[in-house]
Every structure is written in C-alpha cells, then in structure tokens.
Amino acid sequence: MEALIFYVLAAITVVSAFCVVLLRRPIHNVLFMILMMIGLAGLFILLQAEFVAMVQLIVYAGAVMVLFLFVIMLLNLESLSFPDDPRAVRWWGGMVLALGLLVLLIPVFKAFVPHVVGTLTQQNSSVLSNTQVIAKELFTTYLLPFEIASVLLLAAIIGAVVLARRR
C-alpha cells in the first residue's frame, strides 16, 4: 500500500516537473508547479513530516506560486513571444548536463545504507506530535538560525519593495 502511494505520488511529481520545464506557456508552468508541490507534500506526509507538508502547501503552493502567477499577469507574459533562435545547443547542453548529473548522483545514492542515529524512531514518532518535536528543537538548539532567518526575510521584503518601487 505504501509502495503504491509512493509510486503514484512520484509519478505525479516527476510528470509535472517535466511539464514545468517543457511547456511553453508560463501559466501552465505555474499550474504544474503547484501540482508538483502538492505531490511533494503528499510524499512528506508519507515520510511522517506532517508539519513540513502543511508548510509546503501553505507557503509554496499558496504564497510563492500566487506570487509567480501575479508577476506573470503583471508583466503580461502571455503576449510576449520568444522568437526561435539556435536553441538546440542550449537544449542539448542542458540535456547532457542533467543526464550527467543523474549518472553521478544515482550510484552515490544507491550506495547509501541508512542506520538509525537519532531518537525519532518509528514507534517514537507515532507517540510524539511532529510539530511538537520540531518546535522544541527549533526553539532550543536552532534558536539563533531561526532569528537570523527572520532577519533574512525582513531584508528580502525591504529589498523587494525597493527594487519594485516606481522611480
């Protein structure tokens, strides 16, 4: 059952990822990106990371993709045409690079043998709430990175406002 769910979600994710890269209309790219993120959130739930799955849905599929959609509408990209140029070189370059990366990555990943090092074991994780465990770790061990992340977001907001301001 778990394997079936995994393969269905993996198929959804990979197919929509290819659609994101290959389709020509930006609106379709965004919509398939949302589908990919929903599939990924399902995989996160399968991996018992419920909190990250919800954040994925709210922040990514919700906020970030709406931002993309908004910019595409704002710039009216549908009317913009990209005339054909010798893009075959780019195409094959990208293909070769991606395949080379896969050939490099897959043997490495296959060789990896996991062994449990932490305390979050199968039976332990069903007792404790995922959100509770994350919160505890985030507000104790990773408190400083958490605060720095908030400063980073503030800087990003200010930067975006300054950049997009009409002069």
Binding site: V14, P26, M33, W91, G94, V117, L152
Partner: protein
C-alpha cells in the same frame, strides 16, 4: 517496501529536471521556477534522511530552505519586474547588463 533509495533517486530526478530547466529555458520567470524545483528536490532529500535516520534535523533544515527560497523568490521576482520595466523583456538572452 519503500526504502531511502527510492526517495533519493526521485529527488535526484527532480533535481536533474530543475537543472535542465535552468539550462535551456530563456524565460527568466521559468528559470526561477526551475530553481524552486531544485530546492524542492533538496527538501525531499532532507526529509527522507530525517525519516530514515530517525532524526528531526532534516525537517528543520527543510524549513530553513523554505525560508531562503521564499526570500529568493521575492527578490528574484522584484528583479525580474525591474528588468522588464527597464528593458521590456524577460528573455535571458537579451538581458546583458552584467555580460562582458
């Protein structure tokens, strides 16, 4: 039985698709989207490791990746809008502000 390798290979495929998109798309917005794809692939790796190593750190780092990705998207799209206002295009072949 789904093993760690399944998730890692899926993540590798997603990452490679993202690299492909960055390499051969010309639309700046779609390139940003492909970057998001790569970050998501890395998140999947983090969470798969978190699950199979029995440690919460992977999920926390995935959250940090999401924070950085959100900041990157906000600034990246603002830059895209600024460039579109300046040059009237989002084609990366035509944007030559930093080429030499």
């Amino acid at each position: 039985m789904v093993t760690l390798q399944h998730y890692l290979i899926l993540s590798a495929i997603l990452f490679a698709v993202g690299v492909m998109g960055v390499m051969f798309r010309r639309n700046l917005i779609v390139i940003l989207m492909s970057l998001e794809l790569m970050l998501n692939a890395v998140n999947l790796t983090f969470i798969a490791f978190s699950r199979y190593l029995g440690s919460i750190e992977g999920q926390i780092f995935a959250l940090f990746v999401m924070v950085v990705a959100a900041a990157e998207v906000a600034v990246g799209l603002a830059i895209a809008v600024a460039i579109f206002r300046l040059e009237g295009t989002v084609d990366v072949n035509d944007i030559d502000l930093m080429k030499w």
